[in-house]
Symmetry: C2
Subunit: 520 residues, 2 copies
Amino acid sequence: MEIQGRNIIGFESYSEGNVAIQAVNPTTDDILGPLFYKATEDELNLAVEKARSAFSSYRKVSGTAKATFLEAIASEIEALGETLLNRYTLETGLPMGRAQGERGRTCGQLRMFANLLKDGTWVNAKIDPALPERSPLPRQDIRSMERPLGPVAIFGASNFPLAFSTAGGDTTSALAAGCPVVFKAHPAHLGTSELVGLAIQKAAKDNAMPDGVFSLLFDDGIEIGQKLVSHRDIKAVGFTGSFRGGTAIYKTATQRPEPIPVYAEMGSTNPVFILPETLANKGEELAQQYINSVTLGVGQFCTNPGVLMIRKNESFMKALEEKAENAQGGNMLTGNIQSAYHAGIEKARKFTKVIGIGKKPEGKTAVEPYILHSDYQNFKDNPDLSEEIFGPTSVVVEANSKDEFLEIAQNLNGHLTATVHGSEAELAEYSDLLEILEQKVGRLIINGFPTGVEVTNAMVHGGPFPATTDSRSTSVGTGAIYRFTRPVCFQDMPNSLLPDELKNSNPLSIWRLIDGEMKN
Amino acid sequence: MEIQGRNIIGFESYSEGNVAIQAVNPTTDDILGPLFYKATEDELNLAVEKARSAFSSYRKVSGTAKATFLEAIASEIEALGETLLNRYTLETGLPMGRAQGERGRTCGQLRMFANLLKDGTWVNAKIDPALPERSPLPRQDIRSMERPLGPVAIFGASNFPLAFSTAGGDTTSALAAGCPVVFKAHPAHLGTSELVGLAIQKAAKDNAMPDGVFSLLFDDGIEIGQKLVSHRDIKAVGFTGSFRGGTAIYKTATQRPEPIPVYAEMGSTNPVFILPETLANKGEELAQQYINSVTLGVGQFCTNPGVLMIRKNESFMKALEEKAENAQGGNMLTGNIQSAYHAGIEKARKFTKVIGIGKKPEGKTAVEPYILHSDYQNFKDNPDLSEEIFGPTSVVVEANSKDEFLEIAQNLNGHLTATVHGSEAELAEYSDLLEILEQKVGRLIINGFPTGVEVTNAMVHGGPFPATTDSRSTSVGTGAIYRFTRPVCFQDMPNSLLPDELKNSNPLSIWRLIDGEMKN
């Protein structure tokens, strides 16, 4: 497969537009060929029309057939081999190890959803048989299960060119649910996006999926994305990115004639609390782990720990200072992200002291880590300090009492995660802190750091606004599939016409709630 | 318990305002004492503040304790005896049989949710243990379950003074989820609302629930409701009513600084299709059942069948004419609803022929049923005919072919239900019709009529916009609880600090998804 710079629209490729977008290596400013063509409005409409048409058959494709399709996508991505990995590193400035790791995670996600579909139980099949003897109700046979919403618009994220991009968690969960995807590629990794898009296209063709089950559109601005969200045949939106971008999409989607759900994951500062005894006992070790988490991936993760809450502890601060100055920076994903990082640091420095500034490597988008310090009163007086600065930086906030910890927690907005370090006895003593934090986040972490999100059934990568626009959902793990489904109920439907999941004989051997009891 | 006309705010009652609202008997215009006092802004803020404060403990109340609370509410409602039933009939003009039936349904719902809580499995507990041997993932112990969102605003519906009102499905599912409720009473049944509110208040006190777990506010306009939806400490909204009311609330909620979910069930026309052979074989019987469904409760149900699609059939039309003219009208719930019905009929008659006008009883708000007729072309040319007229009326649309049936189905907006009558062979022949309809509704009914919604686990009372503002939810049945919860994940939390639902020993013996397998 070869990068052509063309929009992928179902089984065809198009580049009818006349706005060209140039891929660059952010670390060198070198131009990377070929030119990519911004999708035209006709191309966008064709992609959605194909998705709408594909939905009428794709929604009925069996779980096992969808599983085979997802597995084929994973194999095709792996078959791209060095072509994909090299392009990834050139477009992002990220190291080869990261490219390989993220490819593994992406293919792992695809296979995890394939397994979910093969198992089949995810559809929440419920059967309430008519039981005339249990007068007066139920008189009718009522059955329901989750069904796909329709064509979905997905936006690629800058910071995960594979795992939250073309065939990332959003696309994969939508395809698993039975929804065709129209994907808007992120301009920071155009070639990587197209390569993966071609892998999906090939997997779709080879597995007899309908033309239009997947399309990929290029744009270097917001026009195509906004038009996509406004399109009447788009039924849901998945997005990972900035607060500004996410809320703009949410606004468009909720003000349509027919509003649609938006799953915008907009990041957060992921506060970390270290309880005093643990800070005293393991300060040195925790200082290093904290710096590692702050600088991982040049700090470009949604779960980057942007605020660390501690009680005054001089030896910890000393350890931190040393480790902060030895911390490694790196090249950021784009020049824009680099500029925003510098602007954020400049602003934050006005209200904080510097604990340590790490090392900056070679490269056009290279930055150094900044570990900053604030006392609690100052942190409270400057709410901007609670806002995310995307990059390898974090503010250490010194509080004077348990009450101040509780007050900080109480004043938090919604976040993806919160973390508490403490011994079991200390945690029990601070159970009120844990309870407050639980209400502010999607994931509460004990004695760990928030970066490194496991892709499992129980994972919740989400949280109350402004972390996301829909706290009832997760964008990582198998639970992500429910973002793209709704329950549909069949009343007194003849058994032969029911979906297999609801037939009397349970041909798929799935777990079902029958008259209130789990059975398989 | 006695009606006092006072707002219920937690364990107290207040009437500090100076705007009085008068309850009336709609069928006689008789004034019903006492006066009710519109909530003041202070009273509203106090109710929400109490709810916020109650949430910190109510969210942790065990399932069995919440179940006892819900059962106590049911018993207290029953203990109101004739006081409640008489007030219900006076305020609504509905017959005693309906009052008794709806009370039974309401208490049945409360007890159904109590059983759901006692069973406990509803929380979707998922456990992914750390399995270092399964390198590289999962490295951490990840567990998640559904947790309540926070204080919820619920609006009483005019048409179900008990079952979708003070202790109706919305309030019950929110309380079951662990969310305190601030309830805005519908002005059409003020005394009924207060009596049930007092029953909830007593049950809360007797069962040591926190002050503020339930409040009830009066208003005859939209001010209190809008302020409630705008209040920063309200975290979700349940509403059943008009399209105009529901979309106004949706707009307010999604444009808040922190947007919140709105579950507005706004009704629909619930199209019914009768396939030709079945129409020929059972026309007489179906004509009567259709008229019964249209006129049930004076047509004041969300699932009232507002459109009937048939193929031309003279003997059916003849049967229908006779039955339509014998159909019984009744008194509508309020003078406003009556006026809107007359306006709707007047408008619809401009584009239709009258098949039959039913009988009108005595009473100030009495109306007669109207069964109208349109051919398909006319129906297509006048989209207003597809809109709900709240009351005992329906339009019979004659189509000329299967293709026209499919076209009608394809052009439908979102509805709560769609119904198809046909033999198994005929239904198989029309499987494309069933598939289209399934995508337009929350519930697809075969050989029945949409009125009479069973309250079960598998029920879906919802559907795509404009039937509701959130097609991913149901407002009837146990699934309604998930409107008021979100998943929360605990990573490496010490077993002793986990909620019981996630503890290793499974002390509640609930079904859980452990490493991908259902276990209990």
